[in-house]
Each structure stands twice: as structure tokens, then as C-alpha cells.
């Protein structure tokens, strides 16, 4: 199966296709993690994006049903250097190729992803088109160029759960992966760390929420009711939440007026609010700020973020192409975290209200585990009231 990737700047990469026989347009972006491709594929923030991995060998450890980040993979296409035809891992349920095929996602392998990445590093994210169907270079280029792009498009509606639900009521999916000890019986793949009681009810707005965030919230003792992105403040409040969580999600935050309005209403209630990634951008807008598109989006597992209060630097996992404009934020908002690479806003808190948020992914999967205390902070914030 021949496959093609065309970029709006006129470049065309040809290689071998895998996954589904399909075509898709999207914004082409790269990820520098050496592992963690399954988490990337299923991260809703990658909606409408064609993702390429800089690490050359992908698929070696297959995919499994536990390490998914949402109900399905969301990337528009997947571009790698070398796909493993076999799976070498004790927890694997399927191969990467099978997984993409089942989910209708086209893959391209056999190209120099490092060269592609370098192009994206120089030019910024580019619109592109990927296909494993018989399509000429000219047509592929045409499709890449004619794609309108992410600006102004609401992808949240496509990735959010359609119905409200309570996360993991039976406590089967939230406990941390644990390694089997000694001669314990049972399927080792299902051995889990114990969970605390779920004693604080909160509502989470699902803009394309990663399951790992839900797992972390549950691990902190939250009982989480997940609402579709389009839910109103009133719909949230009828569940009497002790706190509101605003999730991550894909695309342009400026296209989400309904979400911004709901958050504005919630801000009036005095209920503690914690936002992550897209949730942070929505919160920024709800407080009167503006967002803009970064020339170089922040993606990957080693973005340095400085905590301006403690002076500490954290290495964080990130995945976003838009940012909150610091200058647009009102005076009662304090920027307390910045990115050391480009000095953009990585987090802020309200000076008088119980509201805080971060641009990065504190649940960090894949990536280092520096930032989990933020979930504990959210719990303290609620309990201190």
C-alpha cells in the first residue's frame, strides 16, 4: 500500500501505507516522545491533526486496552519512520497497524520523520493531507492547500462524549497500573493500586478529555460526573458539584462561545474551578482574556515551565497550538507559570476567586510525573472552603 503526505508548502512525502485505506486532511505536527504513541493517538487534543513521531521505531510494544486516553483514537493520520510488523510486549492486545485500521485512520511509514519535523520546526505547523489511497501528488497537494485549517473550527463538538455520565462508578478503570508482587494470583495485567474513597462530587466539562485526567481525579478521591462540552452552567449546578473541572481538548479556543459563556456563569457561583489546557484557554476567555495561535505549538514530554511563585522549574508534557495572551488578562488574574522556551503563559490563578488553571498536562501520560500535586491542590482548595 503506497501512501502520501502532502504539505501546504508544496512538499510531498511518499512511503508505505499502513492502518486504514483512507484519506484525511489536518494540521501536521510532531511529537518527540520516545514512547507513548498509544496515548498520543487517543488524546482528543490531537483531533484533526496528522501526527509524526521523531523517534524512528514505533509500534514495537503494540497497543493495549488499558493505556487509551479516550474512547477512540482521534488523530487524522499517523506518520512514522519504521513500523514494527510484530508486537513484543506482555500487555499488548493488538498491533499498531490493526488498531489504526479498525479505527479508520491512515498511516504512513518509511519517511525521514526527522526531516519532516525540521521543516515543521522552521515553518511552524503546516496544513497537510495524508492518504493511503491511490492519489496523485498534485491532488494531494491540492487537498492540503484547500483544507481551511484549525482556525475558527469547533472540533470539541466532535470529540466530546454525547451524553453525560459518571466516570468509573465501579472503580474498575481508575486505579494506577501496578506490578504484580510475589505469588499473588489473578491476571497480572489487571493488578491495581488501591483507590481512596470517592467522597467529593465534582463536575467535569468534557472538551475532549483524556481518560488519564479522569483517573487522576478519581485517585484524588473525586467522584466525577462528566458533562458534554455544550452543557450549560445550570445543567452543571443541578448536580450540586463541590468543584468544576475544565478539561483539555482540541482546536481553536476562540470558536467555543458556548463553553466560555457556561464558565462565565459558573465563575459567579464561587465554586472552585480547575482548568487544564483547552480548559485553561476557555477560563482565560471567560475572565476577559484573548487567545492566539502559536507559530510553534508546544508538544512533547519535555517542555520547561517555571513556577513564578516558587521559582521551581518543571519539565512538563504539553500538546497545544494556541495560548492565552498574558497582556489581555484583567488585573485580578495573576500569571503564575510561564514557558521557558517562549515565555508564553502556562498557568494563572484568580486573586480573589478559587480559580486556577495550567496550560500543560499535569497528569502527564506519557511523560515525567512531576505535576500530579496539582490534582491534590484542587482537592485542598475545595476542602479548605
Amino acid at each position: 500500500m503506497n501512501a502520501v503526505l502532502a504539505l501546504e508548502d508544496g512538499s510531498v512525502f511518499r512511503g508505505e501505507g499502513f492502518g486504514a485505506r483512507a484519506s484525511a486532511s489536518g494540521e501536521v505536527c510532531f511529537n518527540t516522545s520516545m514512547t507513548g504513541y498509544q496515548e498520543i493517538l487517543t488524546d482528543p487534543s490531537y483531533k484533526a491533526q496528522i501526527v509524526t513521531m521523531t523517534y524512528p521505531l514505533i509500534g514495537n510494544y503494540g497497543v493495549n486496552h488499558q493505556d487509551v486516553e479516550s474512547w477512540k483514537p482521534h488523530v487524522a493520520g499517523f506518520v512514522i519512520r519504521e513500523l514494527s510488523p510484530v508486537v513484543s510486549n506482555w500487555r499488548a492486545d493488538a498491533s499498531l497497524a490493526q488498531y489504526l485500521e479498525e479505527n479508520g485512520i491512515p498511516g504512513l511509514q518509511g519517511i525521514d520523520t526527522r526531516a519532516l519535523t525540521r521543516r515543521l520546526r522552521v515553518r511552524g505547523a503546516l496544513n497537510g493531507f495524508i492518504s493511503t489511497e491511490a492519489i496523485s501528488d498534485a491532488e494531494a497537494l491540492e487537498r492540503a492547500k484547500s483544507w481551511p485549517g484549525l482556525m475558527g473550527v469547533d472540533y470539541v463538538k466532535e470529540v466530546t462524549h454525547r451524553e453525560a455520565f459518571v466516570w468509573d462508578e465501579k472503580d474498575e478503570q481508575s486505579a494506577d497500573f501496578k506490578l504484580r508482587q510475589g505469588l499473588e494470583p489473578a491476571d497480572a495485567r489487571e493488578v491495581r493500586e488501591p483507590l481512596p474513597p470517592a467522597d467529593i462530587p465534582i463536575v467535569a466539562f468534557d472538551y475532549g478529555m483524556k481518560y488519564n485526567i479522569l483517573r487522576r481525579l478519581r485517585q484524588q478521591g473525586f467522584r466525577v460526573r462528566v458533562l458534554p462540552a455544550t452543557a450549560t452552567a445550570a445543567e452543571a449546578l443541578c448536580h450540586r458539584p463541590a468543584g468544576i473541572f475544565l478539561s483539555n481538548g482540541p482546536g481553536d479556543p476562540a470558536a467555543l462561545g458556548y463553553a466560555v459563556r457556561a464558565v462565565q456563569d459558573l465563575l459567579q457561583t464561587g465554586i472552585p474551578i480547575f482548568g487544564i489546557c483547552l480548559g485553561h484557554q476557555i477560563l482565560g476567555q471567560a475572565l476577559g482574556g484573548k487567545t492566539f495561535k502559536l507559530k510553534f505549538g508546544h508538544r512533547g514530554a519535555n517542555q520547561p515551565v517555571k513556577d513564578l511563585v516558587s521559582g521551581k522549574v518543571e519539565i512538563t508534557s504539553q500538546n497545544h497550538g494556541f495560548a492565552v495572551d498574558a497582556a489581555s488578562l484583567p488585573n485580578d488574574v495573576e500569571v503564575d507559570r510561564i514557558n521557558l522556551n517562549d515565555q508564553t503563559v502556562e498557568g494563572f490563578r484568580h486573586k480573589t476567586k478559587p480559580v486556577f488553571c495550567v496550560q500543560y498536562h499535569p497528569e502527564a501520560s506519557p511523560g515525567p510525573h512531576d505535576s500530579t500535586p496539582l490534582f491534590a491542590q484542587f482537592r485542598q482548595l475545595i476542602q479548605s472552603r
Binding site: 524512528p56 513484543s88 506490578l179 497480572a188 514530554a301 520547561p304 522549574v313 519539565i315 510525573h369
Partner: protein, 1068 residues
């Protein structure tokens, strides 16, 4: 935290001689420690018995002691130097053990020396298996179920509870000495008693077997603020069951999912935090892919072979950073190559690193090629590529075992699939080559996985290589289609290997691919903690990202993997060449593939290309960098192997010309030259069949010395006593052909051997030193102890040797350095051979005589004249004795005798005011300290009997008891030397000599082997001596030196003295 101001002078203990399990990686880590601590303003006192190291160069420390690594000696040094700190964790297991002993003995407390880096308690927590187990229990982290045993009976009980198979692990040993897997109680008894004897504290651990589990390693660095980072995640491709030093490994982990990696990291952090190490720690874990269980195997709270590998694989100099952390800095004070500081380090990159071990089974007749829990490798290579296939194939061609790919090794291709599968029942050093042929013959990936426990991903990758190779083989004798050639190069197939597959000249393959634009490109490996380091690797899978300067530059070819005959001394020379070139204003370019070395440290040269030393790889770099020339003299045989081809391809070789090298190595050409110059050589001839050999040997007269042409380290060399033995030799030497004849020399019986090094500028030469061997001719010079200056050589012979050396250097137009070996037989000096390259004596001579030979040789190669450098012969008021270290303890099945084939892995130097004292020290340093009193056992063959009489008499005069076997007993009695009779096993009387050795009734064994290898019936005596750690000598000349040494030591031990002081006294 800023640097500590409460310490000023730091003692660093090196790791001593190179042995299996402890190679030059500790020279690398020790040098980094010296650099780091000196840059922080501390004074350094360095102790190491190994003279071939860079770290023992007088310029590396403020005071350098080349002294035996023992508690009494270190106590003396501490008393003299009064350091206020000791850094224990950069000198390998030896340094760590000694530090622990110094603490226990109260020496450090007495002299107010603080231990920095890892405190004594941490050493114990990490090293003592019982305490470590306790600590893990507290942390709730599992280890393989086990229990300690102090006797064989106890071991049996534990094993019965755990169920077989079990693993036996001796406490406090290196490279798993004396341990192993056992499958039944009989095997357990054997291995347990061996293990108890090998352990410093007579303790072994009997452990649940985790055979076949995934073996995973993390390199963790922790600072005083408890900030932790993981430098590298290493996946051992060979599963548990093969010692990690023998396993082939990849970094990063390629088949381990991120969840498991995160768990392993969490475990490692908890362990390192609990142990409390400041600096680097290696954590080894095992994961059962069937049940998911993870257990900790062990940790090394110090730099290690793995940390050296991790440093080279990631560009993170672990030893340098560890030393800085020990000096009080924290990670947030050390810069990262990215923005920020090191506490934010995460592994990254888009390349694959492969480590592959280098073994030397062929050196040990009778040794079983089997890999297990005891390390057998003598060296290793590392390679870097964009893809696994590329890196793997680069590793294979780096090994320098004459193979450039995985196919058609030995006769594996001729074997049937079932034969091959049978050969895979147990891991061997040939496993990868056998698997390759098995795949070619249709073996299923799954079947191979079940046999070897190697994960299917790796086997699948190999299978794809086999499939590509099969497609290539269709074009035998013809040009390869362009797309196939391109694919082959991308997948790492060497030009040379493709040439072999296709039956075409290598140059043709090279031309074809160059026309296609398929050429090597280079990528950058960023180095953490410093700026602007130039560290590169090649790939056929990407664009070239390395820029070149227009400075004048010179390229130095390194030594490749450590192996017997090719050791650390060549790395020493290469490093000095790089330093000298830098001093002379050249940009320096180093090429090497050995991750254990100082030459591959990021700042040894301006640019480091971590590459195989093959014509293809070296030529590519040469064409890119366009240096003024290439230095091939310092890397031992490795660069010489490619020198001719490089020269033919237009490369400018600096110094002695390839033709001269060829002349010296070509016995015929060299002999003609010697005849012309009227310099005697032993009669010799060359034969390519048994018939020819028979005629030549008859003409020369037995015994004769036979050997294959063009070898290093005396490979396959043997003394042959009669025609029958000659026939055996020729039959056994598989490769005897007109192109590869065997050489037959007259064996100079009872001859003294000597050698001389020379520095030469093409017209003039200088001889810094003549060395006298302790062992007589017939023992490989690399295995012989030797003295500088000579001890018994007549002055006229020394003059003759100097004169011959000068004449030969001039005649050969040597430019650089050269070594010539001599034998003195019946008052006549013979030339044995000349090596127009650095030999293993260079660091020795440099240190004893204070003449930096490699540096001067480099300057001469660059065009300086000897007369301008102004070297003068100087009186050396002290004596240095080199002694070798042999790995027989690792090969219990091999007869531990010396012979014409080199087998030592390393060496030590003893320096003192007299020969006798220096010899005594050298024995102490080599790990077989001579007894000052007690009983000597003597058993020599008839031929040696006259030679031993004097020695025995002197032992008796010194009050030693003497035991001897029948023949020797008779001789001594007849000559009035009091002695007792000991029984050989063949006497069928108990107690016999082995019983006496076991019960410690014998303190020194003098036992010369039978001349004929077939009748090595005394081997068990020598083997027993090794097993029970009784010092032993196998030649009468060494016995003579031993008794002189003992006498001198009894009269007053030699004081410790810094190398710098020795050097000051020269010429006074």
C-alpha cells in the same frame, strides 16, 4: 548548593589492573572525576596500581601513587598525604571495596578523612546482599526470593525450599566470579563451594531463578537535594540468565511500554533514595513477561560498565557529574545542553544505541563457550544508528573479529536447521550468528524466541535482514540493482560484507553506491553539562548535520574493543596523541567504537566520531573532514589492519609509512633486511603445508616455535617439540594456505628475553629504555613480568640492544614510535621481531622513565626533529616491575600456565628503589602477594631442576618450610636442602598436595608445567592454587625473583612514593 568548602584534598582510588568485569571504563570515570574535582579547586591524590591508565599520568593529579591497592598501602598513603576526603564510587568495585575496608579498619576516622559521594553506610546497604534485601523489604520492592548461605549444606537446604533451578551468587565479587545457575543438587555443590571460596566474606546467596525474564537497567543520578534523574533506560536483549556484561543491549528501551518504564523509574528512585547515594547508581531489574512481576536484581552505587555505556549512549557524563555532586554541587547548578540545568534532564533523541560484547574464548584452550551468570567478555563495542538494524550491523562490524555482517560465520551456514537449533540450547558467544543462519534456514521467529528468550521484535528485525540478504545473494557476481543497494546500506550492510556476499571487490560496491549518492551522513549527539562538544555518529538514514572547519586537523584512529593483546595501553597512547595534536594547534578528530575508553570522552579531542574502525567508516570521515593526515600507530593492531587499504584509497598516513609497517610484519622481508644489516635472528622458515613444515623444522632442529602469520598477541603460537606435535598443530590450524602460511622459528631455549622501545623521526632515533623479561623466551612478552631498567642483563648486551634498536629504526625510517623484541641466548643477542607502532610498553616506559613517549612520537610525526626535542639518556635510580593479571579464575576449566599465546587481561606496576622490592610490590599489586614466611611447595620438571636448586636453598635460608613432590624432593634432599615430601594425586596417597593447599598448609606454589601440552598432568595443582587463592609461579625465573623479593621485603618494606617524586629523582 555550592561546592563544599570543608574539604580541600580528595583521595581517589582507581580500580587496579584490567580484569574481566572491570575494564578501562574506570579509567574513564576516574579521569572525569579528577577533571571535575580539580576544576572545583580541590587537590587530588590518586592511587592505582595500573600503569596503563590515563588517570595515573602525573598531570592528572597532584600526587599519583602507582602502588598496590591494599589497606596497609592506602593507610600509608593517607598518613603521608593527609587527604580530608575520599571519593569511593568512581574506581569500580575495587575502589568501593577498599573504601569500605578502610572505614571498617578505622583508618579514615583516625586520619579525619570524610567519605564523599556515597557514604559508607550506603555502600554497605547497596553491596551487602542481606542488608540490601532488608532495605528492599522495607520499601516493599521485591527481589528474587533467596536466602544466604555460609556453607554448602546450608545452600542445599535453601535450594530445596526454593526449588531448582537456582542461582548461586557470591557476595562482594566482580563480574559474578564463582557464581552460576544450577539445575540439580550435584551442580549446586560444585558451584556453591566455588562461590564460597571466591567471596571475600565467605557468603553466598541462593536465589530463585529468573531465567528468561526481561533484564532492564536504569542509570539514575541523585544529588544532595534528593533531586533524581534517569540518564538512560537500557534494555538487555539477552534475557536474564546471561550476565549483563555479556548481554547485548539497546538504549533506549525498544520493546518496553511507557507504563512499565515509569514503574521501573519509580522503583529505582525509591531504591536510590533509600540507599542515599550522591551521584550515579545503576539499577538492574527483571520483569517477567508472563506474570508481570518485577524484581530488583542488584544495584551498583558507583560508576560502572553500564554507566560508562549510558554516558556514551546519551552524552551525559555520569562520572563527571557524580564527582561534581560529591563536591557539593547540585543538579540545578550544572548546565544542560538544552535550556536550563540538569535536574530537568530527560532522555531524548532519535537514534538507537547497541552494545555488543567481545569475547576471547579462542584464547583459552579448553574453555567452554557458554554464557551464564559469570561474565566472560573481555571488552565491548557500542554503535549508534538511526534504526536498530543500522546500529546492530554497525556493532557487528565494530567487533573486529573478521566478520562484517551476521551471515556465513564459521561453518554455521553448512549446518542443518536442527543442528543450529540444537546449538541454541544454551547461550554462547556465537548465538546471534547461529540465529541468523537458523532464520535463513526457515526457523520461526516464535521458536527462536522460545529457545533464546530474546524478544520477537529483535528476532523479527534480524529476520528482515536475512530476507534482504537472500535477495542480495540472487545477484552474486553481478551488480546489485540500485534500489536493493540503497536498501542494504540503509539497513546497515557494510560495503565489505556486500562485497563478500556478491563476490565483488569492496571498492566496486563503494563506487556504485557513491554514484547513487548513497553516502554516510553524520548526526550530532548533544553532550549534557558542557557546551560545544563535538560528538557524532554516522547514518545512511538521514542528511548530514555536521559542519567542518577549515582549521588544520589530524585524525587519530582508536583501538576498537578491548580484547586480549589489545588493551587499555593503546587507548592511553591515542589519548596522548590527541592531547599532543591539540597542543600543536591542530583540530583533533578521534574515531573509536569502544564505550569504555577515555579516548571516547567528549573532551579528549575536538571531534569524536563514535564509529567502527573499518575502511568504509574511516574513509567516509576522512573524505568529509579532509584532515592533513591520519595517525594509525597508537591504536594497536586495529588501525594497522586498515592502514594499507586507507593508503591505497589516497589517505595520508602520518609517521611511519604503511610500507614500513608491512616490511616489519612480513617475516621474509624483515629477515632479508636483518641479514643485510648483519643482525642475528633465530633461524626460521615459512610453510603452507605439513610437508613443508616438516622439512623446515628438521633443518632448524626441535624445539621450534610455530605461529600463524599476521596475528596479534601470539594467537595460535606454540612451542613444538617433535614431528608428531607439529603434525597436530598443522592439522588443527584450519586456515593454513599459501596466503596464510605458518611461521616456524628456532626456539631459543633458556634464553632471556628483552625489549626496547624507540622514538624516531625518520632519520634519527632514541631509545628511552631497555626492558628485561622475568620469564624466559617462550612466554609471550605480553604475559611476562618485566623490569625497567634491566636487572641481570650484561652491560654489553644492553648496549647491543640499544645499538640494534637505533640501527633498525633508522634503516626502517621509522617516524614515531617502535618496539623491538630481543632474546639473549648463549651470550648472543637475537632480534625476534619489530613492531613499528606503539606497543603495550609505552605507558610503562613513560611512567617509569618520565618520558611521555606517545606525545613525543606524535610531535615527531608532525615533523619535529629528535635533536630539537633534546632527549638524553638518563640514569633511572629506581626500578619498575610490570606484572600481568591473568583471567584464569574466570576459566576454571583451563590450565593456568603461561605460554607463547598471550592471555593476560591487564597489568600492574610495582616501583621501588631496588628490583627485589619492586618485584615484591608487583606481586602484591597483581593480587598474589608473596608470603613473608610459611611453606613453599616446589614441583618442577627435570629440565628445570638445576635451575630451582639455588632458589630452594634461599627459601630454606629464609626459614621457609619446603614441600616437594617425589622428583624435586629427591633432588633437594641430595643437595642438602631440608624438605618434606608431598603427594601428587597420581600417587594415590592422602593427604595430597591439593589437600594441603585447601587446608592452607602451603603459602606459595612453584610448579613448572610439562613442556608438552598433551601431558599437562600437573594442571590440577595450579588450578587448586587459583581456586584457594594461594600465590603461585610457573617458571623458575619467577621463583628466583620471588625469593629475592621476599628476602628484600623482610629486610624492610618499600615506602610509598608518589610518581611525581620518582620523576624528580631521575637524573639526580
Amino acid at each position: 548548593m555550592p561546592k563544599r568548602n570543608d574539604i580541600h584534598k580528595v583521595l581517589i582510588i582507581g580500580s587496579g589492573p584490567i580484569v574481566i568485569g572491570q575494564a578501562c571504563e574506570f579509567d574513564y570515570s576516574g579521569c572525569q572525576a579528577c577533571k571535575a574535582l580539580r576544576s572545583m579547586g580541590y587537590k587530588i591524590v590518586l592511587v592505582n596500581s595500573n600503569p596503563a591508565t590515563i588517570m595515573t599520568d602525573p598531570a592528572m593529579a597532584d600526587a599519583t601513587y602507582i602502588e598496590p591497592l591494599t589497606v596497609p598501602v592506602l593507610t600509608e598513603i593517607i598518613e603521608k598525604e593527609r587527604p580530608d576526603a575520599l571519593l569511593p564510587n568512581l574506581g569500580g568495585q575495587t575502589g568501593l571495596n577498599l573504601s569500605a575496608q578502610l572505614v571498617k579498619a578505622g583508618v579514615l576516622a583516625k586520619y579525619g578523612v570524610r567519605v564523599i559521594g556515597v557514604d559508607p553506610e550506603a555502600i554497605e546497604k547497596g553491596e551487602d546482599r542481606i542488608i540490601f534485601k532488608e532495605t528492599m523489604k522495607k520499601l516493599g520492592i521485591e527481589m528474587p526470593r533467596s536466602a544466604p548461605a555460609f556453607s554448602v549444606e546450608e545452600a542445599e537446604k535453601v535450594a530445596a525450599e526454593l526449588g531448582y533451578p537456582v542461582v548461586v551468587r557470591p557476595a562482594y565479587t566482580l563480574g559474578g566470579t564463582g557464581g552460576g545457575h544450577v539445575y540439580n543438587v550435584e551442580e549446586l555443590r560444585v558451584v556453591a563451594s566455588r562461590g564460597l571460596a571466591a567471596s571475600m566474606v565467605n557468603q553466598i546467596l541462593i536465589e530463585e531463578s529468573v531465567l528468561g525474564w526481561e533484564e532492564l537497567e536504569l542509570e539514575v543520578v541523585r544529588d544532595a537535594k534528593n533531586q533524581l534523574i534517569t540518564v538512560c533506560f537500557i534494555e538487555n536483549v539477552d534475557a536474564m540468565g546471561v550476565h549483563t556484561g555479556d548481554s547485548y543491549c539497546v538504549a533506549p528501551m525498544l520493546t518496553i511500554d511507557p507504563k512499565l518504564q515509569a514503574k521501573l523509574q519509580e522503583y529505582s528512585y525509591r531504591i536510590v533514595e533509600a540507599i542515599g547515594v550522591i551521584g550515579g547508581t545503576n539499577v538492574q531489574l527483571a520483569h517477567d513477561p508472563k506474570t508481570g512481576r518485577v524484581v530488583v536484581i542488584e544495584i551498583n552505587p558507583r560508576t560502572s560498565r553500564s554507566s560508562a555505556l549510558a554516558s556514551k549512549a546519551t552524552g551525559f557524563p555520569i562520572a563527571l557529574v557524580s564527582a561534581k555532586l560529591a563536591g557539593g554541587l547540585t543538579l540545578d547548578e550544572i548546565p544542560y545542553w538544552r535550556d536550563g540545568t540538569l535536574e530537568k534532564y530527560t532522555p531524548s533523541g532519535d537514534y538507537v544505541v547497541v552494545k555488543f560484547a567481545r569475547w576471547a574464548f579462542e584464547k583459552f584452550k579448553g574453555a567452554e563457550d557458554k554464557l551464564g551468570t559469570q561474565m566472560r567478555a573481555v571488552g565491548e563495542v557500542m554503535s549508534i544508528g538511526k534504526t536498530y538494524k543500522e546500529a546492530f550491523q554497525k556493532a557487528i562490524r565494530s567487533l573486529e573479529n573478521g566478520r562484517y555482517g551476521l551471515g556465513f560465520a564459521k561453518d554455521f551456514n553448512k549446518k542443518s536447521l536442527s543442528e543450529l537449533m540444537l546449538m541454541l540450547n544454551e547461550p554462547t558467544s556465537e548465538r546471534q550468528w547461529i540465529m541468523y543462519e537458523a532464520l535463513r534456514k526457515g526457523a520461526a521467529v516464535e521458536d527462536l524466541h522460545r529457545k533464546t528468550f530474546i524478544k520477537v521484535w529483535f528476532i523479527q528485525q534480524m529476520k528482515e535482514l536475512v530476507e534482504l540478504e537472500e535477495r542480495i545473494l540472487n545477484y552474486k557476481g553481478r551488480d546489485l540493482p540500485d534500489d536493493l543497494l540503497t536498501q542494504a546500506k540503509r539497513d546497515g550492510f557494510a560495503d565489505r560484507y556486500l562485497a563478500m556476499l556478491l563476490g565483488l571487490p569492496e571498492s566496486l560496491i563503494r563506487e556504485q553506491r557513491k554514484k547513487l549518492g548513497v553516502v554516510e551522513a553524520w548526526d550530532i549527539l548533544p553532550v549534557s553539562g558542557v557546551e560545544n562538544a563535538g560528538y557524532y555518529y554516522s547514518t545512511y538514514n538521514g542528511p548530514d548535520r555536521v559542519t567542518t572547519s577549515n582549521r588544520k586537523k589530524v585524525m587519530v584512529l582508536g583501538m576498537g574493543p578491548n580484547r586480549i593483546g589489545q588493551g587499555i595501553e593503546f587507548d592511553y597512547c591515542c589519548v596522548h596523541a590527541a592531547f599532543a595534536l591539540r597542543d600543536a594547534g591542530y583540530e583533533t578528530i578521534m574515531v573509536n567504537c569502544n564505550p569504555e575508553t577515555v579516548s571516547t570522552d567528549y573532551d579528549t579531542s575536538d571531534k569524536l566520531y563514535f564509529e567502527p574502525l573499518t575502511v568504509e567508516d574511516v574513509l567516509s570521515i576522512y573524505e568529509k573532514e579532509k584532515p592533513e593526515g591520519v595517525v594509525v600507530q597508537f591504536g594497536g593492531q586495529t588501525p594497522l589492519n586498515v592502514a594499507n587499504e586507507l593508503a591505497a584509497a589516497g589517505v595520508r598516513i602520518l609517521g611511519t609509512s604503511p610500507d614500513t609497517i608491512d616490511l616489519a610484519e612480513d617475516r621474509d622481508r624483515f629477515r632479508i633486511m636483518m641479514e643485510k644489516m648483519n643482525i642475528p635472528m633465530p633461524e626460521a622458515g615459512m610453510a603452507s603445508s605439513f610437508e613443508e613444515a616438516r622439512v623446515i623444522a628438521a633443518k632448524i632442529g626441535y624445539p621450534v616455535m610455530v605461529r600463524p602469520s599476521f596475528v596479534l598477541g601470539g594467537r595460535g603460537m606454540q612451542v613444538v617439540h617433535d614431528e608428531e606435535m607439529l603434525r597436530e598443530y598443522v592439522t588443527a590450524a584450519v586456515d593454513v594456505t599459501p596466503e596464510r602460511p605458518i611461521l616456524i622459528d628456532r626456539f631459543l631455549d633458556n634464553a632471556t628475553e628483552a625489549e626496547a622501545d624507540a622514538l624516531a623521526d625518520g632519520t634519527d632515533a632514541f631509545v628511552p629504555a631497555v626492558m628485561e623479561h622475568i620469564e624466559l623466551a617462550g612466554i609471550h612478552s605480553g604475559d611476562s613480568a618485566c623490569a625497567i631498567p634491566p636487572v641481570t642483563l650484561a652491560e654489553k648486551h644492553i648496549r647491543t640492544i640499544e645499538e640494534y634498536t637505533l640501527r633498525i629504526s633508522r634503516e626502517l625510517k621509522v617516524c614515531g614510535v617502535m618496539n623491538i623484541q630481543y632474546a639473549i641466548c648463549q651470550d648472543k643477542v637475537y632480534v625476534l621481531e619489530a613492531n613499528p607502532r606503539a606497543s603495550r610498553t609505552v605507558p610503562l616506559v613513560s611512567k617509569v622513565c618520565n618520558i611521555p613517549m606517545a606525545r613525543i612520537a606524535t610531535r615527531l610525526m608532525l615533523g619535529e626533529r629528535l635533536q630539537d626535542i633534546g632527549l638524553r639518556p638518563q640514569h633511572i635510580p629506581h626500578t619498575g616491575v610490570k606484572e600481568v593479571v591473568l583471567p584464569f579464575n574466570m576459566f576454571p576449566e583451563v590450565d593456568p600456565v603461561l605460554g607463547p599465546e598471550m592471555r593476560s587481561t591487564g597489568e600492574v606496576l610495582g616501583m621501588a628503589s631496588t628490583f627485589a622490592l619492586a618485584y615484591f610490590k608487583s606481586q602484591e599489586a597483581a593480587g598474589g602477594p608473596l608470603p613473608l614466611k610459611g611453606t613453599v611447595f616446589i614441583s618442577v620438571i627435570d629440565k628445570e631442576k638445576p635451575g630451582i636448586l639455588d632458589t630452594a636453598r634461599r627459601f630454606a635460608e629464609l626459614g621457609f618450610g619446603i614441600k616437594a613432590t617425589q622428583g624435586t624432593y629427591q633432588l633437594l634432599k641430595e643437595n642438602g636442602v631440608p624438605c618434606e615430601l608431598s603427594h601428587k594425586i597420581s600417587d594415590h596417597q592422602r593427604p595430597n598436595v591439593v589437600d594441603e593447599i585447601k587446608s592452607r598448609q602451603i603459602d606459595l606454589v612453584i610448579n613448572t608445567p610439562k613442556g608438552k601440552t598433551s601431558a599437562a598432568d600437573d594442571a590440577y595443582i595450579r588450578k587448586a592454587a587459583i581456586k584457594y587463592k594461594v600465590p603461585y609461579v610457573t617458571t623458575t625465573s619467577a621463583a628466583r625473583a620471588a625469593v629475592a623479593g621476599i628476602a628484600a621485603a623482610r629486610a624492610g618494606r618499600s615506602e610509598v612514593k608518589a610518581l611525581q617524586s620518582y620523576h624528580q629523582d631521575i637524573g639526580k
